[in-house]
């Protein structure tokens, strides 16, 4: 089930797309029910700046109203009051346009002004995440807490299990000495009354590399010198305060201008939409993309090159090679374990190959990668062949906002469907399987792969223990020579921006 924060974000995205893509005059005819309101807005459009209105639909007129529409006067607030909710939605729209929370200099400046700026500029956000201070709850610091469930029992397992002797029983109640407590949680496990709990800061808890912390004001802040863009804070924050700086408007604007926009859809799209890939492709074409391609075709090339590279490296005597298609893992090695860099495959990711295929055929194409990933947005900045990155959530919003029903589409005819192993890149172990398959096809005798014995292993989901694990794989005791790393547990299908987890 989706949670409230996701729901609010998706509702916002759908409204943005709907208003951006509708033509002021047509919309009156299409939406008979909303006619009165739409007509009013259409009149406004004509009196307002006609240039913007034609390129951004009704959005310049309606964008400032979206927070009010989502949280109308009598509705029940999610936070302290509807005004707080509205403020968070407003900054959500900010981030959706690609701005950082701190880009706002004048709080009275309307969103429509920012919209105009973003449509006129060519720059893309340098990092894909921002923390909305207005949304951050400033959750209480993580600590061990003895609740009133404590009965002050005779056995007192908490005092005995504590490795630091931080718990003493005072007045029939366990008491924690915070100068000694290391938050190991052993006392929580042994308490017979479940009286001890650990309060956590969800974003700090989720971050595998300690890149998000509360600053002196008590609100979360991301240290981008450490951040690997895995998006775990984004999906774990229960207040929806970590926001994506999106490329959505840039893509919509390119579609509206009639540019040759090519959608490159990640293999993980298959379980995300009802009706299967072929119907989804028809729907994407209907939304105004000029063509669609499967990124799995790029994954085929990644497989071939990676298998070749693996054989080469092994024959050169290297002890280990890891995959390179997960951009969060690539960042992890770059920022937190540079000595491991030599083991990371230099083969480009499926996204980069897919971009290359498209640009070779049509150099003027605007390439848009669509996937479940936040780190891909960062990877795309340095990739020459990728212009924009959208998420499945945003693709869903485009289809919903343009009233395109995926289920009722005719299945598209694929020029050439990608092979099953390439489509399986979306799952953990999928890359390993594909490469092994390729190796088996290349090397006739599986027992003698040019003098080395194949031993594979995979890391399913990056967490706080991943860096020590990687060190272990590089150490002398490990005999693993092919390692697959996926930042999301289960693989890309469970990415932070997937629709169905």
């Amino acid at each position: 089930m989706i949670n409230g924060a996701e729901r609010m974000r998706r509702e916002m995205l759908i409204r943005v797309v709907r208003d951006f893509m509708c033509e002021p005059l047509e919309s009156c005819q299409v939406q008979a029910e909303n006619c009165a309101q739409q007509e009013q807005l259409a009149n406004l459009t004509h009196s307002a700046d006609t240039l913007t209105s034609s390129s951004a639909g009704l959005l310049p007129q309606t964008i400032d109203r979206i927070p009010l529409d989502i949280r109308p006067k009598e509705s029940a607030p999610s936070r302290c009051c509807i005004y707080h909710d509205r403020a968070v939605i407003k900054y959500g729209l900010h981030a959706m346009m690609g701005f950082d929370y701190h880009d706002e200099t004048d709080e009275l400046a309307p969103l429509s002004g920012y919209l105009q700026n973003v449509l006129q500029s060519d720059t893309l956000p340098d990092v894909p995440l921002t923390v909305c201070e207005a949304g951050c709850n400033g959750c209480p610091d993580s600590r061990i807490h003895v609740t009133s469930n404590c009965q002050g029992c005779f056995a007192r397992p908490c005092t005995f299990s504590c490795p630091k002797q931080a718990i003493t029983v005072i007045n029939q109640r366990a008491t924690v000495d915070y100068s000694k407590c290391i938050k190991c949680g052993k006392c929580i496990q042994v308490c017979p009354f479940n009286a001890i709990v650990k309060t956590t800061v969800p974003c700090e808890e989720a971050c595998p590399v300690g890149a998000i912390h509360k600053n002196e004001k008590g609100v979360a802040e991301i240290d981008f010198t450490k951040c690997i863009f895995c998006g775990k804070c984004f999906s774990k924050c229960p207040f929806g305060a970590v926001m994506e700086r999106s490329h959505l408007l840039k893509v919509l604007s390119a579609i509206k201008k009639g540019k040759n926009v090519v959608a490159m859809i990640a293999p993980s799209a298959q379980p995300q939409f009802p009706g299967g890939l072929e119907k989804l492709f028809s729907a994407v074409i209907k939304a105004g993309f000029s063509s669609v391609m499967e990124v799995a075709l790029g994954a085929e090339m990644t497989t071939q090159h990676e298998a070749k590279e693996f054989v080469e490296k092994m024959s050169e005597g290297q002890k280990l090679m890891t995959t390179s298609c997960c951009p969060a893992y690539v960042q992890l090695v770059k920022k937190h374990l540079p000595s491991f860099q030599q083991y990371v495959s230099t083969t480009p990711s499926p996204m980069k190959y897919a971009g290359q295929i498209v640009k070779e055929k049509e150099p003027n194409a605007v390439t848009v990668f669509i996937g479940p990933c936040i780190a891909k947005r960062y990877e795309a900045i340095s990739a020459d062949n990728i212009d924009f990155v959208l998420t499945f959530e945003e693709l869903g919003a485009i289809l919903a906002g343009m009233k395109i029903d995926v289920m009722s589409q005719e299945p598209a005819q694929l020029e050439r469907p990608a092979v099953a192993t390439a489509r399986n890149f979306m799952k953990s172990c999928g890359v390993t399987d594909a490469v092994l398959n390729e190796l088996a096809a290349e090397v006739k005798n599986p027992d003698d792969k040019e003098g080395f014995k194949l031993k594979t292993e995979f890391i399913d989901g990056i967490d706080k223990k991943t860096v020590p694990k990687l060190k272990m794989f590089a150490g002398p005791k490990s005999n693993v020579n092919f390692l697959e790393v996926m930042a999301c547990c289960g693989g890309c299908i469970n990415g932070p921006c997937s629709l169905v987890k």
Partner: protein, 110 residues
């Protein structure tokens, strides 16, 4: 929903029409939580299945009318439209309808 045991007091007494459940699978409903409702078939208890007629329908624009229907995802049970649909809501309505139809539930559902 798992764990229900539906049992007709007397199968011959049961003469109501099957309960028709229509799940909207428009993109808006799907995005806002309807994805799970599409798997309803696997989640309704076996014993209910003879009394239920489940089907997926394309978007009927309930999400666009600003009426009192509530918001996506939508589900239609015997012609009545329900907004903000969840599996729990479906389970509640269906068990109520079954009770009215003379079918008792055992297994702590109510």
């Amino acid at each position: 929903m798992v764990g229900y045991k539906a049992k007709a007091k007397n199968q011959k007494e049961f003469n109501m029409n099957p309960i028709k459940i229509e799940v909207c699978c428009g993109t808006t409903c799907y995005m806002l939580g309807g994805a799970k409702l599409l798997n309803l078939e696997q989640q309704i208890p076996e014993a209910w299945k003879p009394y239920i007629d489940l089907c997926a329908i394309p978007c009927r624009q309930y999400c666009e009318s600003n009426s009192s229907l509530g918001s996506a995802p939508f589900i239609i049970i015997d012609g009545q439209v329900y907004g903000n649909a969840t599996e729990e809501l479906v389970s509640e309505i269906v068990s109520e309808k079954l009770r009215q139809g003379g079918i008792t539930l055992e297994g702590g559902a109510e």
